[in-house]
Symmetry: C2
Subunit: 353 residues, 2 copies
């Protein structure tokens, strides 16, 4: 079996403060009582990629928790980036680790912090895409059908559909990548019907991506060549990874690549970017209130309540609030002011971050 | 020293839920970081009544916590009522306990759940009143100058001022007691200037109150007579107290008594009846927010925040809330709906009460 997977789990952030902290960001949280998003990402690959072929990239702050949550994987498959260097160096590190194991591998790269509920649909598409990567010289992406003109996602513009009878999913040639458009442009994208959201998932063969990097990002291709031959890979990573130029994989490779394909996702997808997004998946109570904890309400509607303790929360005469409780911090925010949560987080002492 | 004190500490209730529970109501809470209201009531008597002369009445649910908080008093001075029987039986139980110790005692009765910050002023008045009780055949009360037409307090109507050169405080003859008036009547009381709030504090000599009870409430006088002579007082209380008719001391005695006097309080007084009252005494933060915990705010004003853990509370875009956090329950209520807190409490499972 020469199919491999790389899970990118190095994301940081306190968007879900007070539940998320620098050492425990979104992908390491159990927001929905079904395991953490990282555990769900690992489970999502079951039957597609054997556990010994799954790699996880993280960072030193989160490494201990990632190892705890990914205890079913070989310890040497979990690698902490010695420095933060954006997605192109991270992807190259993963390609190098897999190339050292199997230079002819095909691989799928998935983020650890997206919510996908329809696992069978994901697995069928991932299998189709890996099989295509085995035989096509292309960089393969997965596109999510946009439901609103979100200005903070990357968009992929599609051209004609592939006419490949071996495929069981719709797959398109890609015209180009478009980073975070302004609102008006996003509206046009949505209206045209030719654009999909970039889900940050990539499928390719190791030989092909190395050839493409050699052509368009030689620094990264050289890094992969040397890592795949290194006698002491951990030492090589510590020494050489921090020297790489920080750049996103979209800019470094995908926008320049000779051929990019785009599968149309047949599964649900949510990047769960805020407490309001979380609210969509929490158990529904009366009057539009949602909560993962027992809630008692009087004249209160449309509140999002989350506790890490399962404590009782009583609401009296309050609407449209976000209430998040943890052992050492409590957040009460107006839903319409959710974007200002980061402002209050910015004022907090380090020990609460 | 034949001066004694009786602290009534059997009040129950969940008005301060989730902080207060049936086994730990208001008087057993440390709301202001200066000790519980019961501890403050005990301290308030220092120098007026020796510790061995201070009695506390409580109930079985709260007895253990009361004994813990009143560890400086003789254990036998803390008595749990075997049943709830309103204030006249409770007061009679206290009179009987003190009569057994010293039939010639004078005593002051104080509630355990009022906030009084000016201790020296309280002590000066209490001393004046006890001295008066030693020499005057009267039931003495303390009146609080009303600041608003509160319809839920008892009012005392005063007549002429005593002309007693030995007194260092203003003291008046009482015309009558008025229980909880309607709003219009309360307005009239306030306008007349002859009414004060009944603070629930009583001062009298044991011989005089026994004579008055014998005349107006013989069942209670008989109970006191037998208790003061009982060979096994605890057994007598267990057997006989539950048989007493439930009635308030105002109805049973004070409204009928031959002579009632009323001292004009020279100290501050607050019965701290709600979280909004508590808010008046919590440390003030920016924008009208008050909290006993560290608070970080963005665009948030006039919130009352209380935690029993001292955890950080972050407020974003919220105004006029009451936020109270404990280990197993969290309350978020609109200030204007504070009266509805009891409605949500009524829906809660027993283990949270």
């Amino acid at each position: 079996m020469n199919h491999y997977a790389l899970i990118l789990a190095g994301g940081s952030g306190t968007r879900f403060w007070p539940l998320s902290r620098n050492a425990k960001p979104k992908q390491l949280l159990d927001l929905f009582g079904q395991g953490t998003m990282l555990c769900q990402a690992i489970d999502r690959l079951k039957g597609i990629v054997p556990p010994e072929n799954i790699f996880i990239l993280t960072n030193h702050l989160q490494e201990a928790e990632v190892r705890r949550q990914a205890a079913g994987l070989p310890a040497e498959n979990i690698v902490a980036e010695p420095a933060r260097r954006d997605t192109a160096p991270a992807v190259s590190l993963g390609v190098g680790l897999i190339a050292a194991r199997d230079p002819q591998a095909s691989m799928i790269i998935i983020p650890s912090d997206s919510l996908i509920l329809d696992t069978p649909a994901f697995q069928a598409l991932a299998q189709d895409a890996l099989n295509l990567a085995d035989r096509e010289a292309a960089l393969i992406t997965i596109g999510i059908k946009p439901t609103w003109p979100c200005p903070s996602y990357g968009y992929i513009e599609r051209a004609e559909k592939l006419d490949d009878p071996a495929l069981s999913h719709n797959c398109y040639e890609v015209v180009r990548f478009r980073e975070k458009p302004d609102a008006a442009t996003a509206e046009q994208y949505l209206a045209s019907g030719n654009f999909s959201w970039n889900a940050g998932m990539f499928i390719w063969s190791v030989p092909h991506v190395r050839r493409q990097l050699a052509a368009h990002a030689p620094e990264l291709a050289g890094f992969i060549d040397r890592l795949s031959q290194a006698a002491d890979a951990p030492q090589f990573i510590r020494d050489e990874f921090p020297k790489l130029t920080p750049i996103s994989i979209d800019f470094a490779l995908l926008e320049k690549a000779d051929r990019v394909l785009n599968f149309e996702a047949t599964f649900d997808w949510d990047d769960v970017g805020s407490w309001i997004s979380v609210g969509k998946y929490l158990p529904k109570q009366e009057d539009g209130n949602v909560s993962n904890s027992p809630v008692s309400t009087i004249a209160s509607a449309n509140n999002i309540v989350f506790t890490d303790s399962g404590k009782r929360v009583a609401l009296v005469g309050v609407d449209d609030l976000i209430v998040v409780d943890t052992g050492d911090a409590l957040l009460v925010a107006r839903r319409s002011e959710a974007d200002s949560i980061k402002k209050v987080v910015a004022t907090l002492p380090d020990e609460l971050l």
